[in-house]
Symmetry: C2
Subunit: 181 residues, 2 copies
């Protein structure tokens, strides 16, 4: 086993709207101590929704944290720490895109930590097929445009920097590299 | 242009070891206001280092935020907000792996925001070739094992959940889906 810096204390410093921010006190091998940031998140789920013709449904929205619009796969935070990510992915797909998939038509693709150095946010990403059109149910603070692109168009947008969201790049490129889309 | 929730105030609530945590006050279309979390980060860079035989150099380390060991591509935060990500990637590659690439042998692969809903951390990921063995220069708080894997092995590890780091999945799977590795 690799040696490691050991955590000797974790203190809650700030409770945000959805995050909790902690200061971890770590002991270095020489006995000195150092602070690490730790951001606690309840986790999330995302979906790569594949239409009959092979195109992928994408959502476009304004993102306050980067002061810009992004093109992303549909995703959302879990309602609670105990919610199953399949349930979360199933709900967010229909809410954000107005398309529904039965849970049997959703398969687990990858799980990823967004920011392993700082935060415990894990996003499970599912592949969804046999989509049926229903309607969007957006939250009060959500404004989302839905559109569909071919896998080639999306790969090109990632390459050109027109898609910059980590979970979206990881989900789409994994699905493509693994031969699922 | 899509309508959007508008930011009317941003207040620093906590300054961590490397993060700044803000509370953003957002105005909804109906006039009510809501708080959003914003985590400020100076940005980072990562490298997909490709050996002569096509295998990829990977680093293994303990990650406090998820209480587990991870297998990742080499990466690190920028020294300052003004540092060029190529310089950062070039430095982190040699520090963490003990292999050096000339900057001419490093090409930009993708840029990604790790957590677009909350944080402005952007990671630029480079592809590095013509690696030369030098030696690791780890920080006091870093313990890192270096090893090399084929692209097939890494794809399999992502599929099985043995690689869970977002930037690593995005970088490797983009490089594979785009035909660079």
């Amino acid at each position: 086993m690799l040696p490691r810096v050991e955590r000797i204390e974790r203190n809650l410093m700030y409770r945000g709207a959805i995050l909790e921010i902690y200061r971890d006190t770590m002991r270095l091998p020489d006995g000195r101590s150092e602070y690490f940031d730790f951001v606690k998140h309840k986790g999330a789920a995302a979906v790569v929704p594949v239409l009959e013709d092979g195109r992928i449904l994408m959502v476009r929205q304004y993102r306050n944290a980067i002061d810009d619009y992004t093109l992303e796969i549909p995703a959302g935070a879990k309602n609670s720490i105990d919610e199953e990510t399949l349930d979360c992915a199933h709900r967010e797909l229909e809410e954000e895109t107005g398309y529904r998939a039965e849970k049997d038509d959703m398969s687990f693709l990858i799980g990823m930590y967004t920011t392993v150095a700082l935060c415990n946010e894990k996003i499970d990403i599912y592949l969804a097929k046999n989509l049926k059109k229903t309607r969007q149910h957006l939250d009060d603070d959500e404004f989302i445009d839905v559109s569909a692109y071919t896998v080639e168009e999306l790969t090109d947008k990632i390459r050109k920097g027109e898609i910059v969201d980590g979970k979206t790049i990881a989900g789409l490129m994994s699905a493509r590299a693994m031969g699922f889309i």
